[in-house]
Symmetry: C2
């Protein structure tokens, strides 16, 4: 090789995943798959690249500008997907006749957005979506809530709250107030409540939605309703009496809270928040957001809602649905800050030290024997000094090391070194697997999943 | 929406993965992860997009032409990775100081190639690589063989053979014959042995490598050596006596076969094939190919080898290594033809029929109760006719259905319908989980993994 070395570097906004964080991410994805499957969601996959026309104009102008878009070798205008929802809409329209409805799918896959990279945003990240399409039934909305609950709980969190709303409730109020044709402007103003306060919102409601002071007061009074789901729903019942839209929203919310508790979801993990809207147009019914009580500032870690018509750009067949998406990067950041992620860079807890190259066949054999007993085991490949190998074990985060040389082989025993406690025991080979299982059960909690 | 519908379609050479095949692929990937981890390989990930200069010129001219390459929003010349080896080389060079060596990683991820799409080739497919870098030790070569064996076996195959070779053996012969400076031409000719026969190869050896008839005869005699590993190695020992390269190759092969058998790999699953080379330049030591005895025509399902220097284009640090890659698409095709893939499109074996909308809370509750007992359960969302719901269950491949209406709720029982056998039993709720576990253990073998 005479040419100069190429600088090894990743593109701006892209990143490598080294073993420890990659293992944490993999554990999270496995937990998501397990919980999704337990509810009957099946995996699907779609191509990373799509015809640009399939992706354009679905996520708004900002998404369009962020597309990684180019002309392929065959002259086609193509782009990398920027989310999993638009490809799912295309997929559903294309295959609906091969899929029985209701159709429940999950999709865990990377998406790409040419975003500004300040504020810790990445241009490639994994989305974890699940959706039930082809049904209007509130049972699907309730199960979506159960999935979110069981997922966040399976990841290892106990202190979290799922905040639920239903767009029909606000729509009912706006119908009564005669503001329903200006609902986007109202939502846009309400979204800023925490930022600009009630007076700011009132000013914007007057300016952008043409709301009278009285209308403004009613909208703000609505958005600031708090209390137990039942007390809020009772108040709303009074306000929205006789309005079919609002009453349907109230009925669906009441059924959702009742059935979720009947199914065993702790009441303190659920809340009704009539101020959440999650975007202006996409969601049409139930809406979900999930907050960690010990770190609410990272934002919602699992969000979603009900929509009227998934694939309207691709088919005249109406496909209502409901779903949500796990915020993988946010969750990983939170887990890291809570010390829930192991620093270990090895999926194997046991390292077989390569003590004497004459006995390499025994090291390889014991490794395979332990694996057959369900113990992930790495065999150090080189006969380097024991100190060097133990330093390697320490750096990677192995829990245990197995050592044997001439003396041990003559006696048919192994030295089992607990690298966390610094203790060492001599064991006949027949007792090894059991001793290792016992030692690993004492280990500090493994990363979630 | 007044604009015309967009045709829902995928790009040429790209495909959607529907539930049944997506589940089979996911099961294979999970098996691969489990086996790789059990040997201490950790996951890593790299970006789908790289600077084009990182990818160019590593896979040869054909790879370069197949690159999905474009200019990004920041004016950078970028491309989608066409394999996982070049990104791993870049990764290793960039992070080697943060990784203790030996470094063992696996990487399961999609790659993209703008290939001709005839002959069932796809432009997007998943690669499943594992490698050990930073060591020359034959222990790593032997463990690579063990991983291949345990992986193919864990997937569910029993009749397969791993064919092994070592490039040093042929190099030794070529050194003795004075042909080592023409080794590429010799390999290119030998690669065609099965296609053009001995005479064709002899002609090409004369023409392209300038080999004399005597040299040609020796090369062909070598390539056609067959027999047990020990008998072939004994023959080679005679031929290569005194040649250090050849003797090292023989010693490493002998140790590999001896230790693999010592570690419990059945002898009939291993073979020595001195004719395999796997590409002209990349591999420098041990080489692996794996064939299914009942379907050898699909080609090698798991291949790899040892290389001298992974990251020479990016760093002056020498990183020798050894690894292999599972051929996911070939394996899935073979498993499909052997009937090893379930046609079921649901990961949940149990469907709770939505018999009476008044009792929806009970259907939702029993679903969550069964999931807590480890039984994946789907609840049908709509109170459609039972016939319709059972047809849905049949189409998706559910094994069992749970039905209860007024009568059953009054008695505290459920009807458990075995959709495969057509039988139905009445059970108190307390006995349900156990009965379902028992019924599912009788089920036909699940897909591999």
């Amino acid at each position: 090789m005479n040419r100069p070395l190429i600088i090894p570097r990743t593109l701006k906004g892209f990143r490598d995943h080294l073993p420890a964080p990659a293992m944490a991410r993999e554990a999270l994805l496995e937990t998501a798959r397990r919980v999704y499957r337990s509810y009957g969601f099946s995996p699907i996959d779609t191509p990373a690249l799509e015809y640009t026309e399939v992706l354009l104009g679905k996520g708004g102008d900002e998404s369009d500008k962020q597309l990684f878009r180019f002309t392929d070798q065959g002259g086609r205008d193509v782009a990398l997907r920027f989310d999993l929802t638009v490809p799912f809409a295309r997929f559903a329209a294309q295959h609906i006749n091969d899929l029985a409805v209701p159709f429940k799918r999950y999709h865990l896959a990377p998406v790409w957005r040419g975003e500004n990279t300040h504020r810790g945003r990445y241009r490639e990240f994994i989305q974890c979506d699940f959706d039930t399409i082809g049904t209007d039934s509130n049972a699907a909305d309730i199960e979506t809530l159960l999935v979110i609950h069981d997922l966040v709980s399976a990841i290892g969190f106990e202190r979290f709250r799922i905040q639920v709303n239903n767009r029909l409730v606000l729509n009912g109020l706006l119908e009564i107030l005669g503001l329903i044709d200006r609902s986007s402007a109202v939502l846009r103003a309400l979204d800023k409540l925490h930022k600009i306060g009630a007076e700011g919102v009132a000013a914007e409601l007057a300016e952008r939605a043409g709301a009278s002071p009285e209308q403004s007061d009613r909208v703000l009074e609505f958005a600031r309703l708090t209390g137990s789901p039942e007390s809020v729903l009772t108040t709303l019942e009074g306000w929205l009496k006789g309005n079919a839209t609002g009453e349907l929203g109230i009925a669906r919310l009441r059924e959702l809270f009742t059935v979720a508790q009947h199914a065993g979801i702790p009441a303190e993990r659920l809340a009704l928040d009539v101020s959440i809207a999650r975007g202006l147009d996409y969601y049409t019914g139930t809406i979900y957001e999930t907050f960690l009580l010990d770190d609410p500032k990272i934002g919602s870690i699992c969000s979603g809602g009900r929509y009227d018509n998934l694939a309207e750009l691709f088919t005249s067949q109406k496909l209502p649905g409901v779903g949500a998406s796990l915020g993988l990067d946010r969750l990983l950041a939170a887990m890291e800050s809570f010390g829930m992620i192991s620093a270990s860079a090895t999926p194997a807890p046991v390292l077989v030290v390569h003590f004497d190259s004459q006995h390499m066949p025994e090291y390889i054999r014991i490794g395979r024997t332990l694996r057959a007993a369900g113990i992930a085991t790495e065999v150090f490949p080189d006969a380097k000094g024991v100190g060097k190998q133990l330093k390697y074990a320490d750096r990677k985060g192995f829990a245990l090391a197995l050592i044997a040389g001439e003396t041990e082989f003559a006696q048919g025993v192994w030295q089992l070194k607990d690298l966390r406690a610094g203790t060492q025991t001599t064991l006949p080979e027949a007792d090894l697997a059991q001793a290792i299982h016992a030692a690993l059960q004492q280990a500090p909690a493994k990363p979630a999943g």
